[in-house]
Symmetry: C2
Subunit: 428 residues, 2 copies
């Protein structure tokens, strides 16, 4: 396919006229589609309805150790839930604390505790003049919202195809002790679907931070969210790698079943070294009497074990795969070789990131909106909502039906072409 850059001004104007006719048809057809939300579809939620049946009024709501899940007690999660989530994130149950329904809330809580109480004996961050976090970009907007809320300065780290630019990470953390953490979505990253390479993980585990209280915030949100059964990305397990590298305390690992069972009604957890867990439990015993054990039990009885969860995730994949493949197919058919942007083909997760020509993301999102297709706001995957190149667009294929998604993708591709042609025309 000829790229726009190679086409003459006349050819581009001709192409533009054709595309504008297509765009007008879309714009006049009263569409109301949404590719902005990283939510499971109703069809996916239906997969977990059986969870509503596993407990009933004649069920014994006791744990294997005899604890009555209906009453107070058990601060950090029932053992069988630790085993299940441990298998899910490849960690020993002893390294796990089960929380409530939201891993985001655990991250918030972790930052908040570090602000007021510091990390393992170090000065509370609220007593410091300056605290900084490294933010691989594009990344997850809600991570950045937490750091912004606490007045923490964010430093962009470019994402490469192997994960964050580790030369830059190593350089910065080794010389600046105000850098206290880095946000990571290491597997099927939000929004690019990149899985950190083995080398990247090993370099993470071998960091020599200037700050003693430096921590890797490892948000393993999509650890079991594969699209394929065999062709899966593999991520080196970070807790074990940090231990092998002599940095056992350097990482907090977060996870939840939000996009496995029901978002908002799942079970979330943190995994960390024994030293970190001691500190977390110190806070936890002050902050709550315990989390929802009945819901923990409900999850364990529904999934039974990690094989049950794997089979369950296969059903999710069967729903999601056609959506992801349709979008990638459309991109390849319509945009390959056009010089109108690029994309990465993910093997799991919840998003596809489209990398538009520099300065085009906002215009594309606005144009799609005008035609009735809502995209995640351009800039959202960057700290302070500011994409320095105005080029990244996050696409969330999960929530709409496949039919709606097809139309939305066609609209999107049309908008990409139109805005890109305008951009190329500027330089002609």
């Amino acid at each position: 396919m000829q790229s726009y850059q190679e086409m003459s001004k006349e050819e581009l104007l001709q192409e533009k006229a054709k595309l504008e006719a297509i765009y007008r048809r879309f714009a006049n057809s009263g569409l109301k589609l949404d590719m902005s939300r990283g939510k499971p579809s109703a069809e996916q939620l239906d997969l977990s309805m059986g969870m509503m049946d596993v407990l009933n009024s004649s069920t014994d709501l006791s744990c294997e150790d005899g604890t009555d899940c209906r009453n107070y007690g058990v601060l950090d999660g029932i053992q069988e839930a630790k085993v299940l989530l441990g298998d899910m994130i490849e960690c020993h149950p002893d390294n796990i604390i089960i929380y409530g329904n939201s891993s985001l809330n655990i991250m918030y809580d972790t930052v908040s505790r570090s602000m007021t109480h510091g990390v393992m004996g170090n000065t509370p961050w609220c007593k410091l003049d300056k605290v900084k976090f490294l933010c691989p970009v594009p990344g997850y907007d809600r991570h950045f919202t937490i750091t912004e809320y606490f007045g923490i300065e964010m430093i962009n780290i470019p994402m490469l195809s192997t994960g964050p630019d580790m030369d830059m990470v190593e350089e910065l953390v080794s010389r600046d002790d105000t850098i206290k953490a880095i946000w990571c979505v290491p597997k099927y990253s939000n929004p690019q679907g990149i899985t950190y390479s083995d080398e990247t993980v090993r370099r993470f585990a071998r960091l020599k931070p200037a700050a003693k209280d430096f921590r890797i915030y490892w948000d393993n949100a999509y650890g079991v969210h594969h699209l394929y059964d065999i062709d899966q990305d593999n991520l080196v397990e970070i807790l074990a790698e940090c231990k092998r590298a002599g940095n056992p305390d350097m990482v907090y690992k977060f996870c939840s079943t939000s996009k496995i069972s029901f978002p908002g009604s799942g079970v979330a957890a943190i995994a960390a070294s024994a030293n970190n867990l001691v500190e977390i439990r110190e806070q936890m015993k002050v902050a709550t009497i315990g989390h929802d054990k009945v819901n923990q039990l409900r999850h364990v009885r529904f999934f039974k074990d990690i094989y049950g969860m794997t089979e369950h995730m296969r059903k999710h994949a069967n729903i999601l795969r056609p959506k992801f493949e349709m979008i990638i197919d459309t991109f390849e058919r319509e945009l390959d070789g056009r010089g109108a942007g690029s994309w990465i083909t993910p093997k799991g997760g919840y998003f596809i990131a489209f990398e538009a020509l520099e300065g085009c993301a906002k215009a594309i999102v606005a144009k799609a909106k005008k035609a009735g297709v809502t995209m995640t706001p351009a800039g959202a995957p960057y700290p302070y909502g500011k994409d320095p190149h105005d080029s990244t667009i996050r696409i969330a294929p999960t929530y709409p039906t496949l039919e709606d998604l097809k139309i939305a993708t066609d609209v999107f591709v049309t908008c990409v072409k139109l805005v890109s042609i305008d951009k190329v025309l500027e330089s002609k």
Copy 2:
């Protein structure tokens, strides 16, 4: 009955010998009883087992407004849960935010937010040299643990039969702007079972605090936990009273269904003025995507409405009333007029407080322990675990069976008598 103080040394020694024989029988019978835990009994938990049936795999898990409770969305609680909890705590649903499973966690979170972000535009507490809370004593140990964890200084306020000593509260808050809050359990208080009088509540609402960011932490933990149907305590509703007094923003009200449905698997909420809720939502949208809506729906479908909850609480009362009455009867029969301590007869809540002779609480608790009866540690209802008079003992009648409780109460009364006689003998 003759008081120990009126008895001669000889009479006391005779009485002591008799009691020691009784005590030895208890101590040698291998008892293992527990009156320390403010937990519902298994029989009470059974009352809510129907909650496990209201949702099943063919239930429509949508709210009245059509929201799919299984998915992300709805930050501050589904409307029907706000209505139910609003009726429970006599507040308008618009003044309510539903959280997760723990009201204690909301309180922790509220203190933590005040530390890092301040209260409605005022300086974050972590930037102040000194922050103080008033603590009516005896009170709830976990309140004090939160304030202690954040390094907040605690000032004891004596509890009167009408609630906290309001002369002292008014005096202190009006002249000291480092006093930022007061902890209250205003109805069937923990541990005394006192309900604040109308005058006390009205004086609370009319406080003129030196600190603009002063807040009343109104932990309405036992709002519907009556022992009787007609003979109930009444508490003036604090949000409305603060509004009438021109202090609408001065109070946070906390509640949960922990001792209504299942502790740990209930629904908790905060009620406050619109101004306060704006600030809370600002934090909440950073800290989580939302709480467990399926569990909110489960509660609404189970209780249906406030009448359903009232009828449910009547069943709890039927289980609890004999336990409370047995203890009070035993105290009246064995201790009335003995000059060995005093107690208040509560009409609801979860505790009875026994006020021993000065300097006797620890010894009584230790003596009971030796005979196999665990009481809440003496001192626990005071900040830093320090009861200045060593006299308050919290009794938790709910968890043991009535039979076990009878024996435990007999042991307890025997210990009270023995320690009191020793105390009186000292001065003979």
